[in-house]
């Protein structure tokens, strides 16, 4: 039997103050990101903010400062540029201030055709999104997320106790906020694909939390004499090797996707990678200790099997 960990007996609950402190900071960061997004000052992808994005693939290498200079000279100075070096690819983004009537994408293409006549290029992709669509997309995503949270709280509350449902929801929220905060700090673009990644990691984190909770419930039913803190600690230790193995396999999938999955998948896999790490951490250090904060029930409701 190959084992990463043998039988462990780590006092996870004892470290909850540190965990809460760390998580509090991450959640604050995430909340700042949310506020900035709703104010429109975060790096929101054009699928949410509206605007234009054009990706060009050149035959020869192109210098980003030269590209910026010619765009400025042609009145497209607000463009953000990003290059994908190894393929001579250049991504040009213009935010919502430019309306779709102007045919910004065509103008960008025209500028490059004119200014770099010797460096042939093809248009890899071009996206133009009106601001109203972005708004609708944002609202839809938000509604879907809120409803799924209510559903999960209700289900977990029904299968366990209300406090389990709320703790699971908080832990999941925590993970989503933490990754969102990290993306905000690194000024990474928040696109629809990144939001999909956030949803995926919410699903993953929820699964992870429920697995730990299941064991806690089982132990609460079996061993009524021990203190709740001991029971939870034991449960977490018992599922620890499963938690590590599962996280490891998912990380094994995500590392190649992040490093070599191409530019489209890169941010998506990165968000998931962080999500897995936070999700694993949160089911041990956030969801489980949160149960201890809830006075009263101490597993009474669970004792009927």
């Amino acid at each position: 039997m190959l084992e990463i960990l043998g039988k462990t007996n780590i006092d996870f609950m004892g470290k909850r103050r540190w965990a809460f402190l760390f998580s509090g900071i991450m959640v604050m960061l995430g909340l700042v990101a949310v506020v900035q997004i709703s104010r429109g000052s975060a790096n929101l992808g054009i699928d949410f903010a509206g605007g234009t994005a054009v990706q060009l693939k050149f035959d020869q290498a192109i210098r980003i400062d030269e590209a910026r200079k010619i765009l400025e000279a042609n009145g497209l100075g607000t463009a953000e540029l990003q290059e994908f070096g190894q393929d001579n690819k250049l991504l040009i983004r213009l935010k919502a201030s430019t309306t779709i009537e102007e045919k910004v994408a065509e103008r960008v293409v025209a500028v490059f055709t004119q200014e770099f006549p010797s460096n042939h290029f093809v248009v890899d992709s071009s996206t133009e999104i009106g601001p109203t669509i972005g708004k609708k997309l944002q609202e839809d995503a938000l509604i879907a997320i809120l409803i799924s949270f209510v559903g999960i709280i209700l289900y977990v509350a029904g299968r366990f106790e209300l406090r389990f449902g709320i703790a699971a929801a908080i832990a999941t929220f925590h993970d989503v906020l933490a990754v969102l905060g990290a993306f905000y700090l690194l000024d990474k673009e928040i696109t629809l694909l990144v939001v999909t990644a956030l949803l995926t990691l919410a699903g993953y984190s929820m699964t992870d939390t429920v697995v730990v909770f299941d064991r806690i419930r089982e132990n609460l039913r079996m061993r009524r004499r021990d203190s709740e803190e001991t029971i939870i600690n034991n449960a977490v230790n018992q599922v620890l090797s499963r938690t590590i193995v599962t996280s490891l396999t998912v990380v094994l999938v995500l590392i190649p996707l992040t490093l070599a999955g191409g530019e489209v998948l890169h941010d998506f896999s990165l968000a998931l990678l962080w999500g897995v790490i936070f999700g694993t951490y949160s089911s041990i250090f956030v969801a489980s200790p949160l149960l201890l904060l809830w006075p009263g029930a101490s597993g009474r409701l669970l004792k009927r099997s």
């Binding site: 039997m1 990463i4 065509e106 799924s148 629809l192 490891l248 996707l257 070599a260």
Partner: protein, 547 residues
Amino acid sequence: MKKVGRRLILLALAVMLSVIFFIPSYQPFYQALPAWLKAIKPNKGITLGLDLQGGIHLVMEVDEDRAVEIAVDRSVVSLQDLLVDKKIPVESVTRTGPTQVTIQFQNAELKAQIQKVIEDYPAFLETESAGSANLLVWELRELETKRIKDSAINQALETIRNRIDQFGVAEPMVQRQGLKQIVVQLPGVKEPKRAKDLIKETALLEFKLLDEDNRVKMDLPTRIPKEKEAEVLKEAEAKLPVGDQILFERAIDKDTGREYRIPYLVKKRVMLTGDVLSDARVSIGQFNDPYVSITFDAKGGREFDRITGDNVQKRMAVVLDNTIYSAPMIQERITGGRAQITGTFSMQEASDLAIVLRAGALPAPLKIIQDLTVGPSLGKDSIDKGVQATLFAGALVVLFMMVYYRASGIIADFALALNLLCLMGALSALNATLTLPGIAGIVLTIGMGVDSNVLIFERIREELRAGKAVRLAIDGGYAKALLTIVDSHVTTLITGVALFLFGTGPIKGFAVTLCLGIGINLFTALVGTKVIFDLMNQRHKIEQLSI
């Protein structure tokens, strides 16, 4: 405990169905099948989304208010004609609001006569508040306004469909979304800009006479650079004769290759529109210059015959979307019901013009509010890289499971393969469209699939450590893990269903794969692997489990 045999049959059935449904999705293999097998294909298979195969996704809005204005404008012009025909001298007939028409006249006695003429226009309602004796104000009925708006979107939908059909795109999608939006999806289109222009062009073809009597008075320049259009219009505004307008011809200087404009004074009255066309084709002129030859239907032919007969030696402008293509002199009466549109265009422009003329005009301009274009190379790039990375990642997981759980790991890997196969089969059966977020859903499901097996195996190990016999340990492990697996899957399923019901577009795609994947996961984890363990146990009693 169910019989092993029955579960095996169930498993085999799932595999078979998945393979049958999946085959049409994998073109290289599907194409190699004999024809009689192809004929029984049960479904279309998985299509790749635009992000994976390249193409255009457009969301457009019909400018409904403009459609109403255009309709009112047409009534104004025909009303003017009618008044001229009946020899009723009015000063002006103008659209004075989005749906309002005002008629001004000198002689107050004409009022009753005019009112009688307008009886031919039941769509309009006289407003009481006109006040002056020399003024009549008419308003388009609200019901009529609504009808025009409604038919505008349907007509636009129809027209776009026609144009795309003639342009030739494999599996286009043209759909109404909400009240006034039209979604167009053209997967795999090679010339996105051309396709977009073709869709967007209003393509209102009109024949109008030049006003040569007032030409000298207007003193228009003969040619101007294309930026000067607005300037010329502004200058001419003050002395523009009633019922006239200025339109420009687009032309290209043969020596410099520069585009320039020729302004013309044109009568606003529309002699004929593109509605009466029955066909439009590209032809090549004697100097190898392409032009579009158009054929009128019976009614249009008669009209054209009459118009040209009445206006011999006058110039008539061929106007498309308010730009003059040419303004030839009518040499003689044209009876055959045919005409030509010449102008400065390339072969491709001419053939696109023919397409839009055949398909008909849009009732109003379209506003593109969302435009996603993915070049075929990016699509291919992202697939290649994505597939390579996924294969590599998959291999890592398979290897890891074998190293960590040995023989049992192989069983878990088998479950993983089963999982993927069934998921692909299910997606094929639903004719789903696979997008990047959809792949994300698959990744999450695969992760959960592995997790289910890890949960079970860890439980079995615990049972073994507690000293139970292999058979009991396996049964115990499955039984204890069952609750956890169900709980974790149901919570994720709740998320999936919420996303499916309330999410849009790409998020919905994610939700579909997620929900399907979860169902399949439960099946493979609880039936798929257990059957193999049971089978092994049945054949020869295992003393030592490789886990």
